[in-house]
């Protein structure tokens, strides 16, 4: 996979979540994603950016246009040096309609993305990457 273009943004306050949304929207428009696909990735970005700020105690979002044989996509990587997630499976499966836990963000973001990867260790921060390909 080659990276055609990349940019990074700090996520330290709530307002950064809004900026991140708008940046992801602009990049997905540039990539030529359909309106529904744009909405999906922007929504996923909103969830993950919020998690980075609140649970991750601040971090970064990296946007990349990636190229693989025959297709281009938008990859977003969220990284923080926060407390990390103790039980990833549980965090991803918490119900959406209850509580304010991490599950709402992670599980939802996964469902809205075509590719999703997560690395996290208690005390060592979290790194989440999602991709949506131009179909």
């Amino acid at each position: 996979m080659t990276v055609e273009k990349q940019s990074e943004l700090a996520l330290s306050a709530q307002e950064d979540v809004v900026v991140a949304r708008q940046l992801v929207r602009a990049w997905s428009v540039e990539l030529g994603l359909s309106l529904v696909d744009q909405t999906k990735i922007v929504t996923a970005a909103s969830e993950l950016a919020r998690n980075t700020v609140i649970h991750g105690k601040g971090g970064t979002i990296r946007l990349e246009i990636v190229l693989e044989t025959g297709r281009r996509g938008l990859r977003l990587t969220f990284a923080d040096r926060g407390p990390g997630i103790v039980d990833i499976e549980k965090a991803m499966s918490d119900g959406y309609t209850t509580g304010t836990g991490l599950g709402l963000g992670l599980g939802g973001a996964k469902r809205l993305s075509q590719e999703f990867s997560i690395e996290s260790e208690p005390g060592n921060g979290t790194r989440i990457a999602i991709i949506r390909w131009k179909g």
Binding site: R21, T39, Y96, T97
Partner: protein, 125 residues
């Protein structure tokens, strides 16, 4: 800090969300609406989200909270104008917005509020 304006139209309150809200703004909208419902004795709340191009879990929860608090204060809530791509994404996300009435636009929303209030009025009257 900027706040989202709330209009009073007869017995109803109308909120039109025009900006991309950060979490604090959404929370203050919740608070503002709650106090306005009480102070104006509004019977219904109409939230127009036709300008929102995304609704994430936080905003979804905010809408649910508003509807819940309004009900406790004897007011009905209707959310109008959701865009198709937002609706499709919410369904994929798994957010069903339970207990929230929806309508296509402000006019329909008003009609829905009126008939909902008539019904609850008849039940308690």
């Amino acid at each position: 800090m900027d706040r989202i304006p709330i209009l009073k139209i007869g017995d109803f309150l109308l909120v039109s969300v025009q900006v991309d809200m950060h979490d604090r703004l959404a929370v203050s909208l919740q608070d503002d609406l709650t106090s306005r419902i009480v102070s104006s004795r509004a019977r219904g709340v109409l939230i127009d989200i036709s300008a929102l191009d995304i609704v994430d879990s936080f905003i979804g929860r905010m809408l649910g909270n508003i509807a819940g608090m309004a009900r406790v204060l004897d007011a009905e809530t209707v959310v109008v104008g959701m865009q198709p791509s937002v609706a499709i994404t919410l369904v994929e996300l798994g957010l069903s917005l339970p207990g929230i009435r929806t309508a296509l636009n402000i006019d329909r929303g008003m009609d829905l509020l009126k008939s909902a209030i008539e019904r609850t009025g008849a039940a308690s009257g």
